[in-house]
């Protein structure tokens, strides 16, 4: 318990790693100048390197951000402007009519509830299975463990469409047809291998000395896992949870094959705006924008944990 508290006090980083500002302050000015010259990445000493890197960063931002920005702007255009030839980026007139149409369509609210239920159950299932599996593999380092983790990776290589139809039949046979639980289980098959791999890398980064210290303090193996290791890798768990949640939240194919009236999720409803007879761009983009909000909020809420999780591997050893 004391170990965990100490770790938490240090911001989730093992005690052996000194805090960055104090380390910087103790370096003489001349050495700091030399370090500045040797800096890499966006803080590189050479102006030309910095400029190139900033340009690349800006280009990447545009590449990834523009489609979403265009979607967002389209959602505020009057219907006729959404199909303008040539297309315009900014709406000539801002309107909420697409949001009214999209959210007023029957089944949309129910689909958002279904998506939320499905993603939460799938995320919990993934974590529930991935955390002990990854812990066992990293701590017991057996041959079967290595085979298991490789096998988990192999399942990621199977095209989802190949298992979608058998899964749908199995769920129907089990009486789970058209339920969020069936879809959650299907989504777990997608997120679980990645979750195990992610959690295994996070557990690898936690020094075994911490658990030994906990056992010296009287913890059992499971107690050390629960009280020491899991708080240390909480950032990693957040990262894994985000990935599992997103995998389920945005999944389309299994939702298409396994849901009908009760449990249809929003990605299928969004796709329904494209019909054989045309595409309702305005309503489609409006619903897609609304559907993006929860995951954006979730990411912002868990941002600190995610950054901590991403850098967890850096403290190994």
């Amino acid at each position: 318990m004391r170990v965990a508290e100490k770790i938490k006090h240090d911001g989730g980083m093992p005690a052996a790693v000194p805090a960055q500002p104090s380390a910087e302050a103790s370096v003489p000015a001349g050495m700091r100048r030399r370090r500045a010259v040797n800096r890499e990445g966006l803080e590189a000493g050479k102006r030309s390197t910095r400029t190139i890197l900033w340009i690349l960063l800006a280009a990447s931002l545009v590449l990834y951000g523009f489609p979403f920005l265009y979607l967002l702007l389209t959602s505020f255009k009057p219907p006729i402007d959404t199909i303008a030839v040539p297309p315009t980026i900014l709406p000539k007139e801002w309107t909420l009519v697409n949001y009214v149409n999209a959210l007023g369509r029957s089944g949309v609210v129910a689909s958002i509830i279904n998506s939320t239920q499905t993603a939460i159950i799938s995320t919990l299932l993934s974590l529930l299975l991935a955390v002990p599996a990854a812990y066992g593999i990293t701590r017991y380092k057996t041959a079967s463990g290595r085979v298991f983790i490789m096998a988990a990776l192999v399942t990621r290589m199977v095209p989802p469409v190949a298992i979608g139809i058998p899964l749908a039949s199995m769920m129907a046979s089990a009486g789970l047809a058209d339920t969020p639980i069936a879809l959650s289980i299907a989504h777990t098959t997608i997120s679980l291998p990645l979750s195990i791999w992610l959690m295994a890398s996070f557990f690898e980064a936690v020094p075994q000395d911490l658990e030994e210290a906990a056992t010296v303090d009287g913890c059992s193996r499971l107690g050390a896992l629960w009280r020491v290791v899991i708080p240390v890798v909480s950032g990693g768990i957040a990262v894994t949870a985000i990935f599992a949640f997103l995998a389920s939240w945005n999944e389309f194919l299994f939702a298409l094959l396994m849901t009908a009236i009760r449990s249809q999720t929003t990605p299928v409803v969004i796709a329904n705006f494209q019909t054989q007879f045309g595409l309702d761009w305005g309503s489609m983009t409006a619903l897609a924008a609304v559907y993006s909000i929860p995951v954006i909020l979730l990411t912002l809420l868990l941002q600190r944990k995610i950054v901590a999780g991403m850098t967890l591997g850096a403290v190994k050893g």
């Binding site: 009908a260 019909t275 054989q276």
Partner: protein, 425 residues
């Protein structure tokens, strides 16, 4: 920091509560169960665009028979995947499926005959091409729910403009009016291609329009009645050459123009004429540049007469449903109240009497040309082969795209013949 902790805790607790509640109940938020539907209800699998067509029928059916109708709406491509998976597995979550006409041959063994619904009266009130298409291996397996065909939509305001009329007559020697021959269509297209505007569009990414020209030239499309590939015959070449001749009067990038692009171009006022599915006439947005300025004319005939390629959807009952009686009851309702589809956003029906009931009403000017096209002497449905979609996607559309980009039609059609023969043998 404490707020963040509180939010995190609340989020965790609500997530857990939701999960526990769901595990306990195992239900979704969308409505009743979709499997094992009771005899008093029926689940209908339908493409998202066609859902509105049947919504009115569902209400009427509830009043007439007490049958509750639940719709499972799916996107077009997804619907085919879903049908394929459920019909092949033998476990279905629906009692009625709305099938695109091109899918009927693929699913003919998985749906049950509904011959009793095709009375003599019904057969007289359904367009002949549809009656023929619904009958596979001697049994009727789908009741047409709505149908469509390409007609000519044109800019009435431009056609009625005095200066345009005078200029056109001076140049071509006859009056400017809705075209009734393909020569007139070419002339008008050429005439309006000026000042950033185009006379028509050429759709390289969809094959139906070219195939309508094939029918007008007097040939069966792609396959004859013995399943021989005839895609390289003179009629196909004539039709393709005519089709590509319009490229000079159409916006650039014809190879990529599909239905949506052509409809957008017309609604934006960039093209003076388009050959398009009749439903589009009533779907012109009120804020579109051309709203209130569009006229409709029947598809033009060739040497074999007027011909269009109908685009019907059929209601079928899967063999695997345990609710066949209720399913057939719903299909009977859909036939009886077929005209209710006309009041929907798509605005189509399948019965001749339903279209005739509306054709003289303001706003339904496209129905006269649609009826004429569907009753056209050479109008025919697509070949009844399960490979049709594959033929379209892998051979016909690529061939058309190469042709509109300037490829040699004879060699392209010869190449297409070889590929199609490999697919159908």
């Amino acid at each position: 920091m404490s707020t963040r902790k509180t939010i995190s805790r609340l989020a965790s607790i609500s997530g857990l509560c939701t999960a526990v509640a769901l595990v306990a109940t195992g239900c979704g938020a969308g409505g009743p169960a979709s499997s094992g539907s009771a005899a008093s209800s029926v689940n209908v699998l339908v493409e998202a665009g066609g859902h509105a067509e049947l919504a009115g029928v569902a209400e009427a059916c509830k009043k007439d028979t007490g049958l509750d109708v639940n719709f499972v709406e799916l996107p077009y491509d997804g619907l085919f995947n879903r049908l394929s998976s459920e019909l092949s597995s033998g476990t279905v979550s629906f009692d009625v499926a709305a099938l695109d006409s091109v899918w009927l041959p693929s699913f003919k063994d998985a749906v049950q005959p509904i011959d009793e619904l095709f009375t003599d009266e019904a057969k007289k009130d359904i367009f002949p091409a549809l009656v023929k298409e619904a009958n596979i291996d001697g049994h009727f397996i789908g009741m047409p729910a709505w149908t469509n065909a390409e007609i000519i939509l044109y800019r009435k305001d431009l056609f009625e403009d005095a200066k345009n009329k005078a200029d056109f007559k001076a140049k071509y020697g006859y009056e400017l009016a809705a075209p009734t021959t393909w020569k007139q269509y070419q002339d008008i297209s050429e005439f309006f291609t000026k000042d950033g505007m185009y006379g028509t569009d050429v759709k390289g990414a969809v094959e139906t329009e070219w195939l309508a020209h094939v029918l007008q030239a007097g040939s069966p499309m792609v396959l004859d009645d013995k399943n021989n590939v005839v895609v390289d015959n003179a009629a196909h070449k004539e039709a393709l050459d005519f089709y590509t001749s319009l490229v000079k009067s159409a916006p650039s990038g014809a190879a990529q123009v599909d239905w949506a692009a052509a409809q957008n171009l017309f609604n934006q006022g960039k093209t003076a004429m388009t050959k398009f599915w009749a439903h589009a006439y009533r779907q012109i947005p009120t804020d579109a540049a051309v709203y209130g300025k569009v006229g409709a004319a029947p598809m033009i005939g060739g040497s074999a007469g007027v011909a269009g390629v109908p685009g019907p959807w059929y209601l079928s009952v899967p063999k695997a449903t345990k609710n066949a009686d209720a399913a057939k009851k719903f299909i009977k309702c859909a036939y009886d109240h077929n005209d209710l589809g006309i009041e929907s956003t798509l605005g189509l029906a399948a019965r001749i009497s339903a279209f005739e009931k509306y054709q003289d009403k303001p706003g339904y000017e496209s129905f006269g040309p649609l009826i004429e096209t569907l009753n056209g002497k050479a109008t025919a449905t697509r070949p009844a082969t399960a490979k049709w979609q594959q033929i379209v996607d892998t051979v016909l559309v690529p061939t058309l795209q190469k042709a509109v980009a300037g490829g040699d039609s004879a060699s392209l059609l010869a190449e297409a013949k070889t590929k199609i023969e490999a697919l159908v043998k």
